[in-house]
């Protein structure tokens, strides 16, 4: 049983928006609700729409429940939790007619804020906390848990599940456990006593999440890097990428520290870190460190966002031209310039594809959710070492910083990293001479050696013109021979990057191409469009260079829409340049305001442009 609509009753199909003040501890309450719903086996998503601010500005959280798994952002809300008096007006206006607004009735609501097409649910949160809690700090914090309790009652969250979650969370902290439990109850009871609970839209347990987990993309990315065996990281803090390194650091501390028992039994063991994570002085240094480590044979990576890629441009060209493995995680945010650091976009696609001056081309991977972040992050290292070149994984803020319900992460323990073509001293002993850029394989990759190996394998890396022997050259043919091979090498990566996902539908003459975090919204839109009588096929690009299927897909359809989250249709441009199809065969569907994409944006744009709307 997924969604049911019995008369006015709607089961497992609604959206709640919570309006809070940044820095007041609401995240705890909001994620408590999402986790509880998740445990009830119901597909759910929580999207954090937060400001570039530490304390005091408005921040929103959206919870969408959808039994059919359509958990892209919904932009039409059944219930608003209005906890921020600064934004009462806009928040109350945001609820659709017939919806509900929960507010703190410790203070009366100004009349001009009232709407008669929505129901106001007053809960005296401040007063309740004042009466029930002593510490001033608690009185602020617990308001959040109290409204969480009320919401639980209103939409039918199994309160024991919520209670269990709190118990687990505060296992180590008696005091906090007790007060949180109390707060939850307070809210829950108040709602049941004062309102008709549950509301007509509400939850009913399912078991859609048996094989799923709730995780954010940055954590999953860090896990992928850990499993892939990354040992060196150079980075510089930047939202929304910072959490990748925070998590990687945490994970390494837990799993990468070697215990060295001391000879003297009385002395405690010492620990050796089999990894090094360096917070660099800037992004240029970050990528420099990654290239230095990659040259030396370590699996190394950096995580950053748009501004960081811009700064790395020069050295990215060095890595490309000298053929050094490197992994760059770009958690995209809104550009240009500093833009909106806490909002999402897909605006770095073209830049990453061709980052740096001169003729450069890079390998790109486009995860759509945390599960793919985990897999693609790991795969990035294999690709970087196999093709001896910088590889970009383009995540974004929506994927990276929001909690997603995704299939449980699995890892094949028989995984053997693809370290690419590296000659060790034994290999060197067997060959007459070693020249860095000779002896290419069918993928145009030439074997490298690592610093420290026998002098026979010693060579001199240079970002200046070099011939296939690695020697300095200014002779046109010798220079061209090398960069021509680089172009072929890049092309050979196509079958190795994640293949595009294609879904065909009966009689579809229209195709929809998309990428990354647009995935869920576009899939939902395809359903809705079918409802409007428009059958569409689906293709999600997951890697660059492109396989022929991308081109074929465009040509196989009378018309194609390319859905992406940037202003200039960057994916569309990249497809045109690289596959040769006419840009005109592809119509852009663009959303770039900084909030995660929702299906209705896609549906409206497609229908309008098809002129059947």
């Amino acid at each position: 049983m997924t969604i049911t609509h019995r008369g006015s009753e709607r089961v497992n199909d609604f959206a709640v928006k919570l309006a809070n003040v940044n820095g007041t501890g609401s995240a705890s309450a909001n994620s408590l609700l999402v986790q509880a719903i998740f445990r009830m086996g119901i597909p759910v998503s929580g999207k954090n729409l937060f400001p570039s601010n530490i304390q005091g500005l408005p921040t929103w959280y959206e919870i969408r429940v959808n039994g059919n798994g359509h958990t892209a952002r919904a932009i039409d809300y059944d219930l608003m939790i209005a906890m921020n008096s600064q934004t009462y007006a806009e928040d109350i206006a945001d609820v659709h007619a017939g919806g509900y607004v929960l507010y703190d009735s410790s203070w009366p609501l100004a009349n001009d804020l009232k709407r008669d097409d929505v129901t106001f649910l007053g809960v005296p949160l401040a007063t309740m906390c004042l009466e029930n809690f002593q510490k001033p700090r608690e009185r602020i914090l617990m308001k959040n848990i109290v409204y969480a309790g009320a919401v639980a009652a209103l939409v039918g969250v199994d309160v024991t599940v919520a209670a269990d979650l709190l118990t687990e969370t505060f296992a180590k902290n008696e005091a906090l456990r007790e007060s949180n439990q109390r707060a939850l109850r307070l809210g829950y009871d108040f709602a049941t006593e004062n309102f008709e609970c549950p509301l007509e839209f509400h939850l009913e347990p399912m078991d859609a999440n048996a094989d799923s987990i709730l995780i954010d993309g940055n954590t999953a990315t860090a896990l992928g890097c850990l499993y892939a065996g990354a040992t060196v990281a150079g980075w510089y803090p930047i939202t929304p990428a910072t959490a990748v390194m925070d998590n990687f650091t945490r994970l390494c501390a837990a799993y990468r520290r070697e215990k060295i028992p001391s000879d003297n039994p009385d002395e405690p063991p010492t620990y050796k870190n089999n990894y090094l994570i360096i917070q660099a002085e800037d992004e240029i240094a970050s990528i420099g460190m990654v290239l230095g480590a990659g040259w030396s044979g370590a699996r190394a990576f950096t995580s950053t966002s748009g501004p960081g890629i811009s700064l790395m441009s020069e050295l990215l060209g060095l890595g490309y031209y000298t053929e050094i493995p490197a992994v760059i995680i770009d958690v995209q945010r809104v550009g240009p310039s500093t833009g909106m650091p806490t909002r999402t976009q897909q605006g770095d696609i073209l830049m990453c594809a061709y980052a740096s001056h001169g003729d450069t081309k890079h390998i790109l991977l486009f995860p759509a959710n945390p599960h793919e972040c985990f897999e693609f992050a790991a795969q990035s290292f294999d690709l970087a070492e196999r093709f001896q070149t910088p590889v970009f994984m383009l995540s974004d803020l929506d994927i990276g910083m929001n909690d997603w319900v995704v299939p449980r992460l699995t890892w094949d323990d028989s995984y053997v990293p693809d370290r690419g073509r590296v000659l060790n001293d034994t290999d060197l002993a067997e060959i007459a001479e070693f020249f860095r850029y000779t002896n290419e394989d069918e993928e145009f990759v030439t074997p490298r050696t690592l610093p420290g190996s026998a002098s026979k394998g010693a060579y001199f890396i240079r970002g200046s013109g070099h011939d296939k022997y690695g020697r300095y050259t200014e002779v046109p043919d010798q220079y061209q021979e090398v960069i021509d091979r680089l172009k072929l090498k890049h092309a050979s990566a196509a079958p190795h990057v994640p293949a595009p996902l294609i879904e065909r539908h009966e009689g579809a003459k229209v195709g929809i191409i998309t990428v990354g975090s647009c995935d869920l919204a576009v899939r939902e839109a395809i359903g809705d469009l079918a409802g409007h009588g428009l059958a569409t096929d689906f293709l999600r690009v997951r890697g660059f260079p492109f396989v022929p299927e991308v081109r074929e897909f465009v040509e196989a359809h009378e018309r194609c829409f390319v859905v992406e989250q940037n202003r200039d249709g960057q994916l569309r441009s990249l497809i045109a340049i690289e596959t040769g199809v006419a840009p005109e065969r592809m119509t852009s569907v663009l959303a770039y305001g900084g909030f995660p994409l929702s299906a209705s944006q896609v549906v409206n744009s497609v229908l309008t442009q098809m002129e059947i709307a």
């Binding site: 003040v21 940044n22 820095g23 007041t24 501890g25 609401s26 995240a27 705890s28 994620s31 408590l32 570039s52 601010n53 530490i54 304390q55 005091g56 500005l57 600064q86 700090r137 602020i140 914090l141 969370t169 505060f170 902290n173 906090l176 949180n180 510089y236 803090p237 930047i238 939202t239 910072t242 917070q279 002085e281 800037d282 992004e283 501004p307 310039s337 500093t338």
Partner: protein, 316 residues
Amino acid sequence: MPSIVKPLIPLNPLPKNDLGLTVRDYEGAMSTLCAGCGHDSVTAAISHAFFELSTPPNRIAKLSGIGCSSKTPTYFVKGAHGFNSAHGRMATIATGANAANRELTYIGISGDGDSLSIGLGHLMHAIRRNINMVYVIENNGVYGLTKGQLSASADIGSAPKKGDANLLAPIDPIMLGLTLGATFLARSFSGDKEQLIPILKAAATHRGFALIDVISPCVTFNDHEGSTKSYKFVRQHEVKEVETDFVPLAVPIREKIPSDEAKAVTMHDGSVLRFRSVPDGYDPSDRMSVEEYIRDRQSRGEIATGILYVNESGAE
């Protein structure tokens, strides 16, 4: 609301300066920093300094990089021309602006991350060029806006210093300035307006590069290792969901720094900084002795504050 805490302003009726303006005319938009953030106190001091100097607001150009500190130019002298640029690049923009128009009073606001990490090279070359501007580093030892990573000045104030001094030696902009032949070097504390305002006024009237390193505590991510009240400690020992986005309301620290003795000031994280301002008769003109004085104080775990070095001859 924490977000609307305003710099303290004197009681009405507001006094007027030579231009007939009140200090209000030297304030800016509402601050969106955390309640109690040291930066807001610096903002207030800047408003006062320009008010007292009677600088025409439109003759002021205020620039910054990126960071909580770099947000503050919006919060002072609304009538001034502002440029909130890119992370670490403010000095270069100010240099160009100065080349185009030498008639304005330039004030740049930066943070320790902005100036001592990504922007370090530019800061040093701006000092070397002796660009005519006031350059304020609101130094809190952390990256505030990105939530509390240690900066290159990290262990300022964590006494005794932790870790291997040679690996973690903090970068001290004042010492660098001395080495580079800076012409105006001062250090102060956001909590001591009585000291900070005069320093700002002196800096604004100095013809040349005036560097002010203002220790300006971050109430939210006061991340000194081992501080049991530190954000990091909480993160590790309490539960993420509950704490990460909870920023307790704090009040700004205010202290008057004496010169006769070292004043111990407790930071929001419980760590203690010992400040001393330079004694009367202190000679800020001899580079070598200045350095000795600072190091000597450091060796006693004290932070020397005040106008530490001035070379007017070198002024352009």
